[in-house]
Amino acid sequence: MIEFFSNIQNSLIYKNFFLVLSGLDNTILLLLISLPLGFILALLFALGRLSKIAFLSRTIASYIFIIRGTPLLVQIYLIYFGLGSVKFIRESFLWYALKEPFWCGVIALTINTVAYGAEIFRGGIQSIEKSQVESGLSLGFGKFLLLRKIILPIAIRKVLPSYGNELILMVKATSLVSLTTYMEMTGIARKIMAKTFAPVEAFIAAGILYLFLNFLMVQFVKYLEWKYNPHLRLNN
């Protein structure tokens, strides 16, 4: 038995596990900023997409079209390498953020999730029954009150499962930020591989941590669904 445990402790996966774990906070930091920001912006963009102002709606539609039609890697590279090569950006205040791979990652992830999130929320808002809005109007609700009390609560509840999917995709997307020299879990795993020439052990250690992170995310979304959809609970 003791032999078995000492074998585990000496194994490469076990050692790598703790090395990769030191990158977990960097991964979570990326998510902690880009997910809430993306959520709020996605709601605003969905409302703008549905607004009657043709210019606003069309601009947001083309933004969504461009972001959803190109890979995230292109977007990250465009912000990190592309914007950094422009002279007047390097001389402006923007450079304080754009010279850091971390902030480039946050900006790219936010831009990406806003496009997908806005489409999800648009679907949710459009699926609201007309009678609900009409009854709100008949009670004398103003536009803002209608939005706050009827449209958004129903829409967000309805799209929770699909927004949960988007959240999991975002957890996976953070690994791409490692390609801009940002040392999160995938970056550290690649560094271990370069040092030890043992790729499988390094990446399996990182994979286990990502699985764990996604498991937590799934539980979080499940909890939100359970909390905000009490009428769908199986047993009261």
Binding site: Y77, G84, S85, L211
Partner: protein, 235 residues
């Protein structure tokens, strides 16, 4: 800042290189989508036959691959794939060094990822076929193979086409990650060109436009296919 004049065809520009890179992206996408669909059919089959072991393996495969970043799967197959192939070859008594080429590894890696998404789509559309149809086919004396060919697969294709279209878009965009293995597709080509010309903005925007064209055109193709396959059904 912009050097779009460098995108001409011929020796002085990168136009022809980008054309070849675009074709490479398309080739990898099509190959891995095909292999992915094949893997997905096996996965679905493993999930729907009443066998606990195959179902566990299939569920484990889809859960793990979908829970791990695509980049990690690609790294794992790119750096670990050779070792696996060599150890399999060793069993058969072949002891020399084997190296898979980048295209093979890229195709396998993307296919393994895309198969997990395809399998969910295919499983859902298989479950959408009412049991009565299969029972009716059996009552007519059709054997298992012809039930699959004449009753199940035409309907699965019709139900699955919108979902498969989405998986295709994801697969197409995932091929950009293959650039880390050194295979020259659009993303890799834009990095090479921007390093040579010192103008990343130009070539990254070119890459973005090329991906946008690919996704838009293939989206149209899938729309036409959907219309074609749902003839006679109210839409």
């Amino acid at each position: 800042m912009f050097k779009f004049d460098k995108l001409v065809f011929g020796d002085s520009g990168w136009g022809d290189e980008f054309l070849i890179a675009t074709l490479m992206t398309l080739l990898v996408s099509i190959l891995s989508m095909g292999l992915g669909l094949f893997l997905a059919i096996i996965t679905v089959w493993a999930k729907i036959i009443q066998n606990r072991i195959t179902r566990f393996i299939a569920n484990f495969y889809t859960t793990v691959i979908r829970g791990v970043p695509e980049l990690l799967v690609i790294y794992l197959i790119f750096f670990g794939g050779n070792a696996v192939v060599m150890s399999i070859a060793k069993v058969f008594g072949y002891n020399k060094y084997i190296e898979l080429n980048a295209l093979t590894i890229a195709t396998i890696a993307i296919a393994v990822i895309s198969a997990t998404y395809s399998s969910e789509v295919l499983r859902a559309s298989y479950l959408a076929i009412s049991k009565g149809q299969i029972e009716a086919a059996r009552a007519l004396g059709m054997n298992k193979f012809s039930i699959f060919l004449k009753v199940i697969s035409p309907q699965v294709i019709r139900h699955a086409l919108p979902g498969i279209g989405n998986v295709w878009q994801i697969t197409l965009k995932d091929t950009s990650l293959i650039s880390v293995t050194g295979l020259v597709e659009i993303m890799r080509q834009s990095r090479i060109s921007s390093n040579v010309e010192h103008s990343p903005l130009t070539f990254l925007i070119t890459a973005a436009i090329l991906y946008l064209c690919l996704t838009t055109i293939s989206g149209r193709v899938f729309k036409t296919l959907e219309v074609n396959y749902s003839k006679g059904f109210p839409t």
